[in-house]
Symmetry: C3
Subunit: 339 residues, 3 copies
């Protein structure tokens, strides 16, 4: 039942070169440190090069310059990690999701479900919503009114699309994610909060991935938008009217406030924050737990925060932080006096 | 099927003044920048005043002093944003939620459901719980034992009220929110954690709104309390025994540790934190990602953190932060020497 | 129906000493400040010692040196908080969860459910998964393929175990938690993200507790691991391949990036972050909202961040933070000149 692949077969399938015995076969993948004979590993980070001598992996994916003296069969790739990712996919167990609607699902009369889609148990789908060809709606998902799930998309389980959420093709959404909830729009009127109706929707481009328990609110007047191939990790918060450019990736617990606009090919670190109504250009990297408080117009890496210290030392620096302005002004005073 | 409203009609309904042609009608709302003829926009922020000249909106809500030379029909309001919020609500599509219990719901024998309430599919409701008149319990919600959902409240979908959660009237809770889970109470005993029972509940006042995937734990001995009209955005964490005063609003990803007490009319920024057992007085604003480490006794705005910098410059400042105390002490030494 | 316990009875059951009238009985627990006659309180924090004179509690758990002049019956414990936790558990209402599978549950033909387990409504359980003796699977839980729920474990409600998640015994998981979702593994290839298959699983040790809406991703090649008695609060994010040592506790909204290794008996504060691939030794405490940016090899307390200030003062210090390096270099220049 376990699939087996030879080095030569893998080379042909993925356009790689073999250095060594092409008939060697593997039935699984592993790290160099833990691989047993019959498994395939990879060497991407030069830091692990010394593991080549000790690993038991039968095949290792690596760059050309590492392959000459490799003690096992090498598969040569320009980008070993990407090649490894493609090979590893061969060994991923994929549960069969038969076409059709589970009897324990509740579908609005005017919803349109492609016959090749899979609708799991305890799913409810609202009025005028569409589920495309080959889409998979896992157990416990709730799809509200006026939503679209594009062909080949998958809602793993317990995903909620509240209303007016349109997913492109091959979008993958992990459990607990909530798309299309009311944006946080409030006006203070006579001492009480007045709710501002959220009339927009959410548009998610092709090939996006949305992590577990991540939230993407729908827009107030226009849509909240993710362009294609955006990758969001778990527990991310995306406010209403946010626009995220194609190929941008955000790590877990990041938060983007309303109406911010993030460019293409950006990398937003874990638990980083972006204030509302800002603009971040393409190819910006924000390090973990940094707060973006103004628009960023130049590509590059940006940070805020202070370094980790033992608590006793940190308390001293933190106390001094409060006195910084006094210090600077004192010094200038001193400078003035001396001139 | 689309509703249409004249300027004169809107003025009468919401107590506004018309400047210009009162017979002009609109069938939707939009921003000034994107409105097409037949839509209504608003001008609240003076920054956008120049859009009055170019917008295609047929009616614009604005302040009196902007209305004199407006090129379209103006609806004059003291607070244009609040007036706009009320008008926009006329155009919000509201799905009908028929009274009654969906056949795919599981209700405890001794739960009491008002006949005018809507209970959606895949809902379970526990022992001794009550659902009030006109309440809406959306698909996939779980209501445990001894809970109360007040009249007119709405649990949009997949909301969990674990146990002893009492909601006031017109409370609105978004998908994935969890109220009444065990507070995080632990005692270390003989090298292992001992769970401290969480015997309290959660009380939510009238007109509160709770965002998607937000958590509010139940109290250890007393209740966790939100007074009326508290507004919580998505992904917020509220620990056990916290007390939040009326009309306070908290932005996404904020976190409040156990037994903290937050006053009325506070604004807590996104991803801001409040340590446990602190007290924050009324009308305090905490900026995004700040950490409240001591009680706040004076109204005002509070912050922590460092500004965003390019990573190279930030690394230098961050390294210097660690040396701050040495610097200050060296300077004082120098001062002493010079005196 | 309310249980009543005498001081003498509690002393015998939990190995405590009575000072005062052992026949005094209580039917509930409370804080010293709110207790009414007939309730039991506790004094652990010396700060509250003055409440002994005013409390109406009929029995108070305390240390020996507080008991001599206590005006009520004292139960003497070396660790009053732990003793109180054990006593309070007597008053915790526990809903009966009958053995058996609810008719509204969907169980794979080859899943194995112990006859003494409780499976609630709207639960789905996938292929080859096992649920052990006395386990409780609350309403709306989704258990995917190849999962194990150990004996006596409880999934309160709406918990998701995606795939290859193995729970030990007496594990308790709160609503909305997601274990075993895809780790965030991506490779950039020809300008697009390529998904790296996540072939590992999640292993949770005995007696762990996982908070509401917390996420623990499954490993890329190996498993993500929590050793025994790990306690995670709500809204925590644990990346793929993370390893958390026994008896470590993490407060709400903390986040641990992929492949980090945290030791035993650590305390990670609320909203604190740990970068990927780091190692933290045993008995490390990280204060709230600190970011761990390098491995920690010595036990102790660690922090980052700046103190809370009024916004006006903070703006000045923050502006100076950006000039720190210039300041230091200027001073060294000065020093050089003067030598």
């Amino acid at each position: 039942m376990t699939a087996t692949f030879t080095a030569a077969g893998l080379a042909q399938r993925f356009g790689l070169d073999v250095v060594g015995d092409g008939d060697v076969a593997v039935d699984g993948v592993a790290t160099l440190a833990t691989a047993r004979p019959g498994q395939l590993g990879f060497l991407a980070n030069p830091r692990y090069r010394n593991q080549l001598a000790t690993t038991q992996a039968s095949i290792v994916v690596m760059r050309a310059d590492d392959a000459s003296d490799a003690p096992m069969t090498a598969l040569v790739a320009r980008d070993p990690y990407a090649a490894f990712a493609r090979i590893a996919a061969l060994f991923e167990p994929v549960a069969e999701q038969p076409a059709g609607i589970h009897p324990c699902a509740v579908i609005a009369a005017d919803a349109v479900i492609d016959p090749s889609a899979h609708i799991g148990p305890f799913v409810s789908i609202g009025a005028r919503s569409h589920v495309g060809a080959g889409a998979v709606i896992g157990p416990g998902c709730v799809i509200g009114d006026d939503c679209v799930v594009g062909a080949g998309s998958e809602l793993v389980a317990r995903v909620t699309l509240v209303t007016r959420v349109r997913l492109g093709q091959r979008v993958r959404i992990h459990p607990g994610a909530v798309l299309g909830a009311d944006g946080f729009g409030l006006a203070m009127a006579e001492g009480r909060w007045l709710k501002v109706p959220q009339l927009g929707g959410v548009r998610i481009g092709d090939d996006c991935e949305i992590g577990a328990n991540t939230c993407i609110d729908r827009g107030a007047l226009e849509d909240t938008v993710l362009e294609e191939d955006v990758r969001l990790d778990n527990q991310i918060q995306v406010g209403h009217n946010v626009h995220i450019g194609a190929h941008t990736a955000m790590a877990g617990c990041a938060a983007v406030a309303g109406s911010a606009k993030i460019g293409r090919y950006c990398l937003i670190g874990g638990a980083a924050g972006v204030l509302g109504h800002l603009e971040i250009t393409d190819q910006v990297m924000v390090t973990a737990m940094s707060l973006v408080t103004h628009s960023i117009r130049e590509p590059g890496e940006y940070s805020s925060g202070t370094p980790l210290m033992d608590n006793r030392s940190w308390r001293k620096s933190a106390a001094r932080f409060k006195q910084l302005d006094k210090l600077f002004r004192g010094m200038r005073g001193g400078e003035k006096e001396s001139t």
